[in-house]
Symmetry: C2
Subunit: 344 residues, 2 copies
C-alpha cells in the first residue's frame, strides 16, 4: 500500500474526528424536534410513528429507502387555495393580458366577463367556461414558452389578502413535514389536480421538489420542429391526464408504479389517492388537512358548522370515511403552531 | 461538549482511517477504467467527454447533479430484440396458456395461428393483429396480477438461441455505461416502446433502474374496488401512451419535465428522442447502437450491406441524419470488447 494513500487517509480521519464532533453536537440539538411548527398531538404523533416504523431496520413495517414514497396534494394541502386556486388567478390575468390580441373576446363569454372584471359573472363560471379559458391561455405555445410565462407571473403576482407572492402562502408545517420525510429517505411527490407544468415552474424553489416528482393534470404535447429545424414540443388544447379523484391513484401508478406509504390531501379530490395508499399496506398513513382557522387562514369544511366550499370541497361523507378508516384529520387551528413562515 | 460524544467520534475516526485506506486503494484500481467492456475509440471517448464536461465544476457544460438525465431505449439498445421483441414472445405464450379458457380462439385469427404455432402466418401479423393479442393477454386484470404474471414468466422463459433467461441477454457495455453515469450523478431512465409495466417487472433487478424511472407505452388504468372494498387498479384495453417515435420526447417531457443530456437508441423509433435531446443544449450526447456483429449477436441495419429488419429498423436516412448532426453510432463489433456478461 502506498505511503501517500495512508497519509491522505490520516488527514481525512483527523478531519472526520472534528466534523463528527461538530455534527453530532449539532444533530443532538436539531434532532430535538423535526417538526417545530406542529403542536404535540395525534397528527404529529402519527407522522413520527410512520417514519419510525418504516425506517427502523427489523420493524415489521420497514421499507427500503428506494421504496419510500409520500404524495401531497397541493392546493389547500401545501398552500392556500382560497378564495380561488392560484392557477385560476393566473388564467384570468392571462385573458386580460392577451385581450388586445383577441378583440373578439370583448363580446364573447366567458372572456367578456373576465375582461370586464365582472366578479359576479365569473363566480358562476361552469367547468366548460374554465376549460375554454385554460385552453385559450395555456396552449398554442411551446412548453418552454409556457414555463417562462408562469415563472414571470408567479414572481410578480400578489395574493389579495396578504399582498404577498403566492409562493409565500405555503404552509410551514408541511414544508417541515416534507423535509423530515426526505431526511428519512422518502421521495416526496406533489400529486395535484392543478396543471403539472404550472406547478413545475415554481415547485423546486418553493418546496424543494424537482420537476420529475410533480404529477398533475397535463395537456398532451405535440413534437414538431421550429423554423430553424430544432425539435420542440407544442401545447395543443387537449387534456391527457385529469389528475383528480380516481385520476390521482391512476397517475401515481403511471409515474411511480406502486403505492405510497403516506398521502396528504384536503378535499374529495384526494379521496381515491388516500384509499389507494391505504390499500398498499398496514403501516400506511393517510391525512387530510381541515381548514378551521379563519383568523390565520380560512375556514371551510365538514366540522364544527364550517361553511361548505366549492373550492377544496371537504364533505361530511369524506370526514366520516376518514374516521371509519383510521385516517388522520389535521386541524390547522389545533395542530399547527405556525401556519406561514412570515408569521410573527 | 460531552465526553461520550468525543469518545464515540474517536472510534468513528479510527474506523474511517481504516475504511478510507481500503476504499482509496480499491478506488485507485477501479477508477482505471469505468467502461472495461468498451474498446478504445470514438464511442467510448464521447461518453467520457460528456461525463467530464457535465460534472466538472466551472466547465461551460456543467450540469447540477439533480438535473443530470440520460435516457435509454430498451429493445436493441439494452438487450437483444431479435428475432422478435421479448414482450411479443410473452404475449404469444400467454395466448397459448389462456387458450383452454377461450375455446373460440381456435377458429379466430390472430389467435388461431398462435395456438397452431404457425410461424409463417405469425410473421405476417399486422399491427392490428398484435394489438388484439396484446389486449387479450395484458388487460382485464389488476396491475398487481399483471406484474406477477410477467415476473413469473420472465423467471422461467428461455430465449431460442442462447437458451438463457431473457434478462441474461442485456449488453454488458450498456450496464457499465448506466453504472458509470449513475456514479456521476445521472438519473438513468429507460424510455421504451415496450410496455411500461412489462419492463418495470424486471428492470430494477436487471438494470438497477426502479419503476419510477421506466417510461414506456402504457395502458390506461381504471381505479375501482374489489369485493372486499379495497382500492385496486384494473387494466382496460385502452392505450394511454404510445411511447415510440414522437411519443418518446413527449413522454420524457411528461415524466421528467426537461431535456436529457444523453440519449441512447438503435432504431427509427428513437429518432425524435435523440433530436429532442440535442435540442437541449450544445453538450448533449446522442448515440445509436448498430447491430453489425452476427457472430456474437445479430446483424441488421444501414451499413456495410446489412439486411434491413422490421424489428429494430435502422434506416439509411437515420444513419445519414446521425452523421450530419454529429450523433455517435456504436458498432457492436468494433466498440464492444464483450457483449454479454456470460461470454468467455
Amino acid at each position: 500500500m502506498s505511503k501517500p494513500i495512508v497519509n491522505l487517509c490520516r488527514i481525512v480521519a483527523a478531519a472526520v474526528l472534528m466534523l463528527c464532533v461538530l455534527s453530532l453536537t449539532a444533530h443532538a440539538q436539531a434532532a430535538a424536534d423535526p417538526l417545530p411548527s406542529w403542536n404535540e398531538g395525534p397528527a404529529k404523533n402519527a407522522i413520527i410513528k410512520l417514519v419510525t416504523a418504516t425506517t427502523t431496520a427489523g420493524s415489521a413495517d420497514f421499507v427500503a429507502p428506494g421504496d419510500r414514497f409520500a404524495t401531497f396534494d397541493q392546493d389547500g394541502t401545501l398552500w392556500v387555495e382560497q378564495p380561488v386556486y392560484t392557477q385560476v388567478v393566473f388564467s384570468l390575468d392571462r385573458v386580460v393580458a392577451l385581450a388586445p390580441d383577441h378583440p373578439g373576446w370583448k363580446t364573447v363569454e366567458p372572456f367578456k366577463s373576465v375582461i370586464a372584471g365582472d366578479r359576479a359573472a365569473m363566480a358562476k363560471f361552469t367547468t366548460r367556461d374554465l376549460e375554454k379559458i385554460v385552453f385559450a391561455t395555456h396552449t398554442g405555445m411551446t412548453t418552454g414558452d409556457y414555463t417562462a410565462l408562469v415563472k414571470d407571473w408567479i414572481a410578480k403576482a400578489r395574493d389579495p389578502r396578504w399582498h404577498r407572492p403566492f409562493t409565500d402562502l405555503v404552509y410551514q408545517p408541511m414544508l417541515e413535514l416534507m423535509r423530515y420525510l426526505r431526511a428519512n429517505g422518502y421521495n416526496t411527490y406533489i400529486v395535484t389536480g392543478g396543471g403539472q407544468d404550472f406547478v413545475r415552474a415554481y415547485a423546486d424553489h418553493t418546496y424543494g421538489i424537482p420537476p420529475e416528482q410533480i404529477i398533475g393534470s397535463a395537456l398532451d404535447t405535440d413534437f414538431t420542429y421550429n423554423d430553424a429545424g430544432k425539435a420542440i414540443l407544442m401545447r395543443p388544447p387537449k387534456l391527457l391526464l385529469n389528475n383528480n379523484f380516481s385520476g390521482k391513484p391512476e397517475d401515481i401508478y403511471l409515474f411511480i408504479g406502486r403505492h405510497p406509504q403516506a398521502a396528504f390531501g384536503n378535499s374529495t379530490g384526494d379521496r381515491e389517492m388516500l384509499e389507494y395508499t391505504q390499500a398498499g399496506g398496514k403501516g400506511a398513513l393517510m391525512m387530510l388537512v381541515l381548514h378551521d382557522d379563519p383568523a390565520r387562514e380560512y375556514a371551510y369544511g365538514p366540522a364544527e358548522g364550517l361553511p361548505a366550499s366549492k373550492v377544496g370541497t371537504f364533505t361530511q361523507a369524506l370526514y366520516d370515511e376518514a374516521m371509519s378508516k383510521g385516517w388522520n384529520v389535521i386541524s390547522m387551528k389545533k395542530d399547527w403552531k405556525r401556519i406561514f413562515s412570515f408569521e410573527k
